[in-house]
Amino acid sequence: MKQVLNYRETEGKSTGFWILLGGLGALIGLALGSVLYMEHEGHYVTGMNNQIVWGMPHVFAIFLIVAASGALNVASIGTVFGKSLYKPLGRLSALLAIALLIGGLMILVLDLGHPDRLIVAMTYYNFKSIFAWNIILYNGFIAITAVYLWFMMERKMNKYYPVAGFFAFIWRLILTTGTGSIFGFLVARQAYDAALLAPMFVIMSFAYGLAVFILVLMAGYAWTGRPLGDAVLFRLKNLLGVFIASVFYFVVVYHLTNLYATEHHGVERFILMDGGIYTKLFWIVQILLGTLLPLAMIYHPTIGKSRPAIATAAALVIIGGFAQLYVLLIGGQAYPLVLFPGHEIVSGGFFEGQINEYSPSIWEISLGVGGVALSLIMVTIAVRVLKFLPTSLEDSVVDPHAAKAD
């Protein structure tokens, strides 16, 4: 007999719950302390400089922002594409999307030279700037997803949620296009300046967001002792496999395009062969650990059915994602601007033509980790006070037909 789908708050009385809250709270506290220090002293205490102007905070922020839009996919697949298996996951998906975005934005804002001028950023707009558009896209995403969430959770508004879900889906595609375009529109830098970056960021968001979603779902259900059936989990991990492969495809096309254009040989040689840390991160972490290994694990006939393996694969995708953004962001800036093609730099007053150095400071890492902690604490508290999680995601609950088809 099919059981009824029932949402319930988590109990939130266990010691584990309070340890989790306390731990995340401490990380947020450390991050805020770091911000006070960085903003009081100035950015000279960070590893960032006038050559590597965006550093570790931006890697964290962009990861979270990209993952946020991807986390909403699970809800979109249920609402927009009508896959009933995904519908019970819609609330958590939308919640996670909002939480990740707020975490990412916190990092981005607190790293500004003038976070105190946030009101300026909200009131002065240069509409040719993709950054200005992103401010609108991010705020709009939070608003639309919140409405979507409300319509899903409020019985009276329930009939409107497919419309809200559709808008949220379209909005998130535009949002990630905007995030990718931050780099795609930088004409002067060898590693950027590619329209491909926009769709690549969209597909990266699919993979990162789903990996985060799977981990949060598995942890949430394991820690609250609620049943999570194979039907949901295997469907999600198969989808993750497709997304990992899609990101891999885009990475291959991006590098092949650059390798074809002679003017980009320098930067490609740097990233793929001579770039030291960036080359290692690319081949070992992004490609081997973050792409090929999770793909093999997910599609392996026996390992692919093991829950620890699925969790590990999702974690590897996240680690690979951080590596990918680090290589793109920091590696892209480490490679010098090409001002005089066909010339070599004999001397220059400002690190001319040199590979730029960057080593992240503890303050920047702390700020980044704090953003992740903020996202997670928001989810932890939200599922404690509101009905986000179904009491059971057993195969018989989610959809017997979907379970059979898997």
């Binding site: 903003e39 002293e41 100035g42 950015h43 000279y44 960032m48 400089n49 006038n50 050559q51 102007v53 965006w54 500004l112 030279g113 003038h114 976070p115 001028r117 946030l118 300026v120 950023a121 002065y124 707009y125 240069n126 040719k128 700037s129 993709i130 950054f131 200005a132 992103n134 401010i135 931050i182 529109f185 930088l186 004409v187 002067a188 830098r189 800036q333 601007l337 001002l339 005089f340 066909g342 010339h343 070599e344 730099i345 004999v346 001397s347 220059g348 007053g349 400002f350 690190f351 001319e352 730029n356 150095e357």
Partner: protein, 255 residues
């Protein structure tokens, strides 16, 4: 960034009247106005898009080992060696408005030395990407940062093809009144806008002339009688990264 609180020079007032007449004449016969020697704007008038300030740099005349333009800029605008308060930033974090670069052609081995600063593009990528509009271009082509609305996001630094901009990493003291600088904001060469607005010449150009290298010419690119326009017409001039199509206000010869 012009200082509007200064007393108004009566001779400037006369100029306004004359310029008004000239503008009237220009409405009837545009050619007449174009041949009038260009003047800097009077202090109480907005800048005009009828001027476009530019600098022509002849790399063949630029002295190898000479750093006069850089030193003059530091002194004028209070950065680098002229700003002892910027002492906690690492070398790669310190501000740089202008720098000397020496390059060697890989094919011919020809060595060229030149100063590099904000190129004051007609279509500046830094202005395009700035979310708040803090990065802006004046009507007369000078690209500046409004320090009051710069939020310190550094996107302009990502976008600038010339690495012309610097982010200030610490508190600074004793700044020049005409070149305000501040922790958490971005800055770059202003083409000595405070001098230009007073009919003056940028400090780097002045210093280069004083060294008798005369490698730099400052003037109005829109005035066909100006020295810079005449020089460009006669000998031509190149843009760095001309492929980007930015139509820079700083042009080079001998590169």
């Amino acid at each position: 960034m012009s200082d509007t609180s200064k007393p108004i020079d009566p001779s400037r007032r006369q100029f306004v009247t004359r310029a008004g007449g000239a503008a009237g004449a220009a409405a009837i016969a545009p050619g007449v106005f174009l041949t009038t020697p260009a003047q800097a704007k009077p202090a109480d008038q907005p800048v005009s898009s009828e001027n476009r300030w530019g600098i022509l740099i002849d790399a063949n005349k630029c002295g190898n080992g000479c750093n006069a333009c850089v030193t003059a800029c530091e002194e004028e605008n209070g950065w680098g060696s002229a700003d002892p308060s910027e002492d906690r930033s690492r070398p790669d974090q310190k501000a740089h408005w202008i720098r000397k670069v020496t390059i060697r052609d890989k094919a011919t081995q020809h060595v060229t030395t030149l100063p590099l600063m904000c190129q004051h593009c007609e279509t500046p990528p830094c202005v395009d990407v700035c979310p708040t509009g803090a990065s802006f271009k004046r009507a007369d082509g000078i690209v500046l940062v409004d320090k009051h609305i710069c939020i310190g996001c550094r996107y302009c630094m990502m976008a600038c093809p010339y690495k012309a901009r610097s982010f200030i990493h610490e508190d600074l003291k004793d700044q020049r009144p005409w070149a305000p600088r501040g922790k958490g904001t971005v800055e770059s060469c202003t083409m000595c806008v405070h001098r230009v607005d007073e009919d003056g010449t940028p400090a780097c150009v002045e210093a280069c002339n004083a060294e008798t290298h005369k490698a730099m010419v400052f003037g109005d690119l829109y005035d066909e009688n100006s020295e810079i326009s005449q020089e460009l017409k006669k000998h031509g001039g190149k843009e760095i990264r001309a492929d980007l199509g930015l139509n820079t206000g700083v042009r080079y010869r001998g590169i």
